[in-house]
Symmetry: C2
Subunit: 224 residues, 2 copies
DNA sequence: TTCCTTCGTGAACAGGTGTTCAGTTCTTAC
DNA sequence: GTAAGAACTGAACACCTGTTCACGAAGGAA
């Protein structure tokens, strides 16, 4: 009489949902947000277009969740890197360079999530995404200020500015095209990290040292 | 036999063209780029929708020209401010704070021209617009470096980062909503200018002095 | 005035994509 | 095995705007 989902079915449903999200993510990583259309994503996920709507109320919801997912990953990486640093200034340097590396590793995806024109309204997700990263960076700046390493300042504003600087310099329309040369990428990451650290008040000489330490442990500097 | 435009007609045509552009600009300033649609702009300019196409081949061309126009104004203002400064560092400070003030004065317009999602392809204009401002700032940084006031660096990258920082901090989605309090606006402009100057290597104490001098002469800190 | 050219009009068109839904297939319960 | 409900399908639909174009108005030459 009553229909109850079997454990197996629940698993399959979850898997499908993930498949759709993954398909959307891959599509975005390859072709940017504009390529994330229901039909292609459905094909990639091996479902019909209508099926997507059994898992997501609308395209906007799908993209919002995609943004949230990527954002979560990013935030986790930043936290991990910063927490592993020996002190507040190092942590800040690690956080900034991690963001830089991530952005560079997944340019299309980063651009899509941050700024690319989208036909649906995903403003809320984008704001949330930014807020998370900015909050994390702001708290790291805060820690450095409290430790007496940096002058007092509006840390929220500073963190926002840093994020903007990283994005514009690394994936903005004026960013260098596609230097898949790891050495060049490392230089770029170091350069923007240096700018960021100096911006919040780290002295030039000390900033240079922090930058080198922060960027050295970073593994993959190339990616999709 | 041959039809030749009277001087009067030429003037009327030019006036109409300007009216359409002005209508587009006003519309963008009020509602962002998404509000710049052919029909509303035409109404505002007191012409029919079809008439717009007698002056602009496509919506993309209209918006591109709008971007170019605003960009020209902005660049001129930046040049003027920087040229009036007593030295390279002051010039840089003046350039940066001028950009900041302009962006703040016309938030919606700035956001629309810089980053707002648009359905047509205006990438080229946007890149050109950015390139002009970035080039100007880069050359000011360059001058300061040559004068020995700043450490050697990739000035193009630095200028790009500064632009991104200003935009994100001032009109990005995380920017404070609408502080029409002039004092608060001045503080914000000073804060981001300070960040920018320190980013390129100006020492904290000196940067603070430059910021105050640069922002003082700025007149209107409020606008549409 | 007359004729030709250009300009202006606005309703109709076009194209692309998110969304729906009636029909089909699969799953569960008995 | 069978009935009932859930999941899936994909073609059709809907909507939104940029763009067109046949027609009328206005301007210039003769």
């Amino acid at each position: 009489m009553v229909y109850r989902r079997t454990h197996q079915v629940v698993k399959r449903l979850a898997a499908r949902r993930s498949a759709i999200l993954a398909a959307a993510r891959e599509t975005a990583a390859e072709g940017g947000m504009s390529a994330v259309q229901i039909a292609p994503v459905a094909v990639r996920a091996n479902v019909a277009a209508g099926t997507v709507y059994r898992y997501f109320p609308s395209k906007a919801d799908l993209i919002s969740e995609l943004i949230a997912e990527v954002s979560r990953d990013e935030l986790a990486a930043v936290r991990r890197a910063a927490d592993a640093a020996p002190g507040p200034s190092s942590a800040l340097a690690a956080a900034v360079s991690t963001v830089a590396v991530h952005v560079l590793s997944q340019r299309k995806l980063a651009w899509g999530i941050l700024a690319e024109p989208v036909d649906v309204d995903v403003t809320a997700s984008r704001i949330a995404s930014r807020r998370e990263i900015v909050g994390e960076i702001a708290s790291r700046i805060d820690a450095a200020v409290r430790a007496g390493h940096l002058p007092a300042q509006d840390t929220q504003l500073a963190a926002t500015a840093l994020l903007g600087a990283l994005h514009e310099a690394l994936v903005g329309p004026l960013a260098t095209e596609n230097p898949d040369d790891p050495a060049k990428l490392r230089d770029t990451v170091q350069a923007v990290t240096l700018l960021a650290l100096r911006a919040v008040g780290v002295m030039d000489a000390r900033a240079r040292g922090l930058v080198v330490q922060a960027v050295l442990p970073v593994r993959s500097l190339v990616g999709a």
